[in-house]
Symmetry: C2
Subunit: 325 residues, 2 copies
Amino acid sequence: VKPLRKGRPLFDRLALIGIGLIGSSIARAVKAKGLARTVVCTSRSRTTRERVRALRLVDAVAPTPAKAVERADLVIVCVPLGAYGDIARAIAGKLKRGAILSDVGSCKQSVLRDLKPAARPGVHFIPAHPVAGTEHSGPDAGFAELFEGRWCILTPPKGTDRRAVNKLKAFWRALGGHVEVMDARHHDLVLAITSHVPHLIAYNIVGTADELRAVTKSEVVKYAAGGFRDFTRIAASDPVMWRDIFLNNRDAVLEMLGRFVEDLTAVQRAIRWRDGPMLFDLFTRTRAIRRAVIAAGQADNPPPATKARTAKSRTGQDKAARLAR
Amino acid sequence: VKPLRKGRPLFDRLALIGIGLIGSSIARAVKAKGLARTVVCTSRSRTTRERVRALRLVDAVAPTPAKAVERADLVIVCVPLGAYGDIARAIAGKLKRGAILSDVGSCKQSVLRDLKPAARPGVHFIPAHPVAGTEHSGPDAGFAELFEGRWCILTPPKGTDRRAVNKLKAFWRALGGHVEVMDARHHDLVLAITSHVPHLIAYNIVGTADELRAVTKSEVVKYAAGGFRDFTRIAASDPVMWRDIFLNNRDAVLEMLGRFVEDLTAVQRAIRWRDGPMLFDLFTRTRAIRRAVIAAGQADNPPPATKARTAKSRTGQDKAARLAR
């Protein structure tokens, strides 16, 4: 991969289909770093389109996906997975020859199924997943540093043009990320355990607490500092996005959930039979993983080094969003 | 409760039995606010006793619990729940008449059973639980602001002297906390759902991920930003403390865990049968709880208002510990 020459855009025209947390973070970073000559976006919601104009996040806001992708040499789909089929139908045959069609979705096998039909011969179809995010949604929630130090996983189908893959790699590296190439099936398994099941159990414990009679909602909220608060944060993530993830990564999530429940049953049994050593061993083993996560610079969002440096460049809204985290 | 007169200590001599995250945070706050004329502590570990001396956290480090409680008018036990029996035997009959014997343990029914024997007639036994903490342990991890804006739950047995309860309330309020009085049994139920089960499932998912073959440990660490990292943080909490919590709040934890698993089974079934609306409803409902937690000022640690004000008063070590969170 050629290093990026400063000041020279990697792409002529970037089209973002959907401009929520991830799309608007890409827009902010691309504008800040000059990675594309023109950035155009679209959104199904008129409110969002107006908000994006007010925020001046992009050069042009198109009324439809078909209009947005015109003349674009990089198209990134940034909508919930359930909308991919509609998007594919809307842009099929509209992409220019040689363009790269990519996305940011959290499952990759379903993307091969749903989005590939939009890429006619001559269009490079390269699904991608930047493993980064917060529990906030919408174009106000994004920030340019979101991808710094984070991994972006590409899952190009076999036979994808190597130069196109390298160009997309260079793009994500320019956004501050690390890049990994992986098989879509393996991606979905890795994300099921590192992201999807954790979100599911966070949603679930908050739901359980919400429905109790013996403990009031007000008590749950007052004493949230005992650990519950972290789960409420995760369980505040976008409901549509997460519904679509579970519907589209069904098999891997059910497989990992099965293992989680199996292990939980063993822990439950250890508590019932007062097996202190079993609990102590588990609680000690998990500490090592935390140390590895910290050592890998993946413990904070964004990483500490970035935090200080970028604090001043953020808008008031971004700051407020970060503080609320 | 009389408001605290500035500069006048509430207690003459405070004894801390155990000086980890919570004990050392109490010591720091009490010294900073002048809430006791003398603060003495003890620890079973020689390393900790030496570290506390080096950090100059207290006025005196006693070699044993029996020595530490001599002449103290407030004794706070800050050790893991499994050590309460030993402490009770070591200090039985050594507390001065009129002294308050309290603690900071995360379960309260077991404390009634294990620590009450140490309180001979004339000693006020008032178990307490400040619902505050981080995943860090030891005397270096504490900071004076830990209790600001957090709730401290007192569970005095029936018939406890009201003035003594009010004095302990004033103490925790002076540390910046809110105070609630509650029945020990109800406390254990509330904490099971807001703290104990959340920690258990965090430990469990990290354990599950750690044992997978299909996904390597290195992958789990690299892609932790997808949500997993928050669970690794919680699962890095002190293993001895948490083992003892599960052994001592067995029934309430098993009850709440049962409900969690029941609900999880329903969610699992919804994924298997592609029941999008059920998932969407749950994911929407949980957002409301997050909003309530933020509104109650329990979302951050310590609350944002405190953060800025206290940033300068912290030592380098404390700062490092907070950054690592």
